[in-house]
Amino acid sequence: MIAAFIREIAAAIQAIWNDKGARSTMLGATLFFSVFFPQPYLSEVVRDMPVAVIDQDGSTLSRELIRRIDAADAVAVARYAADMPSARALFLRRQVHGIVVVPPQFERDLLAGRAAPIAIFSDGGYFLLNSVMSSALSNAARSLGAEVQVGRLTASGVDAAQAMAIVEPLRVTTVPLFNPTGGYASFVLPAVFVLILQQTLLMGIGNLKAGRRSAGGLSTFADAIVYVALYSLWAGVVLVLLPWVYRLPRIGDVAVMYAVAVPFLAAVTAMGLAVARLIPSKEGVIFFLVVLGMPLFFLSGVSWPAEAMPELLRTVAFAIPSTTAVPALVRVNQMGADLRSVETTIFVQLALCLAYSTLAMAIERWKKGPSA
């Protein structure tokens, strides 16, 4: 029995190596996607986004404000425009991604203690550029405003500490946790890597099994063991080694990661075997999986909050291993969650594994039924 099992294991490894499609998805594609996919995001944050300034005041304080805007890492004052139409033209040509208007009498109002508003125009079509613009501008405006206020109060004879207590009686600090620099690669890639594992594993199984008859329980079980073992190695490469190569924050415990990853890979394998028996053609399986990549990413709730999705959709999405495994692995790897915080996900994955295995066996029996 054990010898037969070892023979089946060897046969399963050989099958992956001998099948060109399986070799290129389970060995090649996993690595290729993990190198190719991160490329657009590698600079992590937006630096020196060009903005246009319309300085209608031309005063010392307006120039000081503009200097502070330019000093922000994320934006750079690229152009001075005479009026709104010319600034808008630059914007439409994508030569600038934001416009700042400092109105006349900015300095006079500010020094007289009146509100001296500035107008900014940002790009609502690109959310990241839009938020870069608002945070850079509000920092510059707030720091200049507070300084002028404190200066006015101290000039009127209030001591510095008291002036600060009037200007800012309660300090509000916001602390970003887990991705402190707000890097885009650090945000997207840990989730995408998990999805790459799932999709390439499913494609590989599709390549090997779609449209073929099952070679029996023991053989299928040996196949599953080999797939999970191979992908456990890949999980180490993709979730531990690559984050290190790309310098993404990773603070999690590797043992906890595997406590989630192994049940997850088992669930994916079971699902792959079931899907391969449902969709008979290799091409069909591959196409289906390529197309589903992006919707599955959004369903995982890492980029778009799961709370904002319809309840029904969230329930149905539970049937796909990545829906719960992606956020759980991100919480373990990037946020340092312990076993207790992800135990629900582990149970969900084990349940999915059981359910898909049952389904795969039922399909097999049903297919054999008519012929027998």
């Binding site: 499609g21 998805t25 290729f32 190719f36 490329q39 657009p40 937006v46 986004m49 439409l92 040509r93 500010l110 001296a116 508003p117 107008a119 900014i120 940002s122 790009d123 609502g124 079509g125 690109y126 959310f127 938020s131 608002s134 509000s138 405006a141 707030r142 200049l144 405003g145 507070a146 206020q149 008291q162 207590a165 800012e168 009686p169 309660l170 300090r171 509000v172 916001t174 970003p176 946790l177 991705n179 945000f187 997207v188 390549n207 053609s281 091409e283 069909g284 591959i286 196409f287 390529v290 959004f298 980029s303 909050p305 709370e307 999705m309 959709l313 919480r331 946020m335 969650a337 915080s341």
Partner: protein, 399 residues
Amino acid sequence: MARKAHLAAGFRRVLLAELRQIGARPGLMFMLAPFPLLLFVLLAAVFQLGLPRDLPITVVDQDRSTLSRQMVRIVDATPEVAVTHEEGTLSEGRQRLLTGQAYGVVLIPPRTERDVLAGRRPEVVLFYNNQYMTPGSLVARSVGGALGTVAAGISVEARIARGSDVESATQAVLPVPIRQSALFNPSLEYVQFLLAAVMPTVLQIFIGASAALSFSRDRQGVAGLGKSLRLGGTLTRTAAGKLAPYTLAYLLVLWGADALLFGPMGARFGGSLTFHVAYGVVFVLASQMLGAAAALVARDTVSALAAVGVITGPAFGFTGITFPRLSMNGFSDVWANLLPVTHYLELRTDNILRGAPLDISMPAFAWLCSLALIYGGVTLLLLWRHGRPRLAATRGATT
């Protein structure tokens, strides 16, 4: 005239042969229209809210004063967040983040109210989960704004107590107010932003894959490409006849999704409809040519599909919709230019969102047309190379 009629007949013969092929394959028919529309409905459901509301956050109120309770109330009143838990300690609050039950923790330390009254400038801290950047930054902005309002209120009171009038006290709190308006998509709707961009990206996969399947099926078939070429008469007629059913189907899907987006879903259409139709057609053609060229380069159907998957699958990151193109590395910038969807989305943004004059969009439109021509040229060249020997062989056999 007779020659022209003959060519048109060739086109019709290939078209009919292709339609028969599609008719014989229910899987292929499903992938032509029902499946992409189903995915559109799925994605539309994901983004149905447009803006997330009531994101769960937790509060650690160690002060339990009138002021701290007021802060919690004001934070809870902002539409984007909801205070769903209250914790005694910060580590319990942190645990909520780790289990994914909350996106942020507001810490109000003991003696906050007393310290405010004594002018000691106490600190209130919002910890937010920036690993989940979309909800995280939304929480940071709205909770930070709400707490800022509380602080501003105290500041106004302090100034009034020092004898200033309400109006100047209010103005003094925010000396440089910012009037921010987003040019284009001012409501910052995710439907307009993400859904409108994700759908064409997903469609590019469908379009490329269907063209790849059509051509590599012929290459694998017994009769080979030679048969299609003989039916079509010329290379262009053959290619056009083979691809026409898919062009039509996916244009209908593309516009059907747009009809849903701008109709029942209420997105604003601010540009030229004619131009929208024009670049839509070129986009579908360019994506088809990309798929066809990949199929003729690849050795078999599975590798053809894999090639299309590799090119079109990760395309979304390269389009610059989420992470901007201006911050990408050189490779990504070049690669992005080779993808039809990059230019299509730029044209969409220019036309629909920005209502930009046509001359602004010309470079992107020229890119899209060039891609269609280049990939089309490659397709014809390969078709000629692969088809020729078999064509010659069959001719040799019949004469």
